[in-house]
Structure formats: C-alpha cells, structure tokens
Subunit: 194 residues, 2 copies
C-alpha cells in the first residue's frame, strides 16, 4: 500500500504512521533490520500490534513503506547552470545513493513488500519528478531537452537495472557516460558501459 | 546461492536439486505459490527438510533458485536474417515473457531470495548471452554491431526497469522502439517511451 493512499496529513493516520516509521528507523539502528518484528515495533512506537497489522498487513509491507519514505528526495536537483551538468550531477548523486548498501537495501525492501507495485512506482515517480524539474529548468533557459521518459530509459533505468542485476563496474564515470551518450546522441557500437 | 555453485552434474547434489526443483514446480501448480512450505516441498521431493535448509538456507532462497532456473532461455535467439530484426524479435519475446504474471513473479523471486546477488546476476547473464549470440551472428554477416553492454543499457535495462518500477504502457511497440532507437542512434529529445 502506498503512502499516498495511507496518509491524511495532520490526522491520526499521519501521526500513527510517523510514530511507526520512526520506531522502525530507530530500532533498525539499535537492533538491526533482521531483528525487527511487528510486536517490537509496536511497543517502541506505543501502538498496538493490531494497529500495524490492520494498516500495513505485515512486516514486509511496513518495511517497504519505510523504504519508500527514505528513498524520497529531500531537495530539488542542484542548479549548476546547464542541462548537461545538472543531469550529470543528479545522476552521479542518484547512483551514489542507490548503489550504497543502505540504498540497495531500501530499493529491495521497497520492491519486496509491495504486492500491488505502488511503492516501486513511487520510487520511480520520485526519480521522474527530479528529472522533470531539471528538464523544465533547461527549457526555461532555452535549451533543447529530451523527454522525461527518454531520460528514464537512458539514464535512470540502466543505473537501477545494474544496481539490481549487474553491479560490476558501477561508478560515477558510468553515470556521466549515460548522460553524455543521451545528450550527445551516440551511434551504434559506441559503448555506454565499461 | 547460485546454481553454478550448487550443481555437480550427475552427482547426488544435482539429483537432489532436480527433485526439489520439480517438487516446487508441481506443488506451485497444485496448491499455489503462497501455500509452499519447506516441509511440504521436502515431503513431495522425498528428501528431509534439513536437506533443503542445509542447501538453500530458507524457502525464499530455494524459490529464488527455482525462479532463475525458469528464467534460463531454452533456445538460441531466432535467426531472422539481420541484426535489427533479430534484436527486435528477441526484445519483443523477452518483454512478453518477463512482463507476464509468471515472468514478473520469477523475476521478483530471483531478486528477493538472493542475499549475495548471484541469482540476479545470473538472470542478467542469461540476457547478455542471448544478446551476445545475436551480435556475434550479425558480426559474421558483416553488420556493424553495438557492444553487448550497450544493448543491455539501451534495450534490456529499460524493459526490466519498467517491469519492476514503471509498468504502464509496456508493449511490443516499446520493445521495438528501444531497438530502433539504439540502432538508429536517436538524437536528444527523441522519445524512446510513450
């Protein structure tokens, strides 16, 4: 179940979610992710286990929601003056965060406890929003820009695919190359990955 | 743990694996995936539960190994006469299989019961092998070909990313567009996704 569906800001629902999410983050730091249980989280959050089961179904769905919350960007993409450097800077940061042990764990949790796919969609939506902000800024500068979905296919998808399936040789140079190949329109036979 | 590490062809290890994998597939058809338990699978396979726990650790790792086995291509990519149509045909089939309910379930199982990432790497390796076979055939025809890793980034990654994170509008036309954009070297602003 997605946060969008769950939260009524300011209401009890939002307060309970904040308490439970905080409990998960604190307990994860204290006892480690594998030691988390619904009763333990409920006790720490000061709610009943049934409140958690009613709302999240099970531990995995709760961890998935917490992971999505953590994957939400907390800042606008940096404005570095032009599309190429904005997108390169963002892609390097995105890869650095997502490929980190914590980032990988959150991506896996987001996918894992997500029966209807809405949490995975939300992760993707966060990236698309950041890309759209970078492209909108470039358009106002009068720069020629690709479509958001093209950037998702050419920059975001390869990084996320390799993080999950093909992690060898993932570094900032790879992120830079993806952006350069997109904006520079490479020909066939031109490698985008080492 | 990956099949590569596990199997000693013809040995007891290989026989046990075959029995257990078959039991999982048969029980999945009979009682459904969510009703599977290690004791049930062991009974059906004629092995002890401890044999399964010793070898696979837990149910999720076993299901991950079975999923990887199912994702292994059983045929060479079709030879349709040229690179563009070989790659297009393969990409359409790949997307059709991976985006099916069974395909999505196997991809998720392969990813999620895979502590060391070797099963996910094997799924990606299967796709890379098929792509490499298509490119090698094109090279012998004297066609100019992209690198395998370029095809992974430009064709395989976007399809797999969207299957997991962004499933709207995934169809054969999307797979065709990815291949056409790769081989045709699109310029910036040219959408590869609708």
């Amino acid at each position: 179940m997605s946060r969008r569906e769950m939260v009524r800001p300011g209401g009890r629902s939002a307060r309970v979610q904040a308490l439970v999410h905080t409990a998960v983050r604190e307990l994860e730091a204290e006892v480690g992710r594998d030691a988390l249980t619904v009763p333990l989280i409920a006790k720490h959050a000061g709610v009943t286990p049934s409140t958690i089961y009613r709302r999240w179904g099970d531990l995995r769905e709760l961890l998935s929601d917490v992971a999505v919350e953590r994957l939400r960007p907390d800042t606008e993409p940096a404005d570095t003056g032009d599309l190429s450097s904005d997108l390169t800077t963002w892609a390097e940061q995105f890869l650095d965060e997502m490929a980190s042990p914590a980032g990988r764990a959150h991506v896996r949790d987001a996918l894992l406890g997500d029966p209807d796919g809405s949490n995975a969609g939300q992760c993707s939506g966060y990236a698309a929003e950041q890309v759209a902000a970078i492209l909108a800024r470039a358009t106002t500068r009068g720069e020629r820009t690709p479509e958001v979905e093209t950037v998702m296919d050419r920059v975001v998808a390869p990084m996320m695919y390799r993080i999950l399936f093909r992690p060898a040789g993932l570094d900032a140079a790879y992120a830079r190359r993806l952006v350069a190949d997109l904006l520079g329109a490479p020909g066939p036979g031109q490698p985008t990955a080492g």
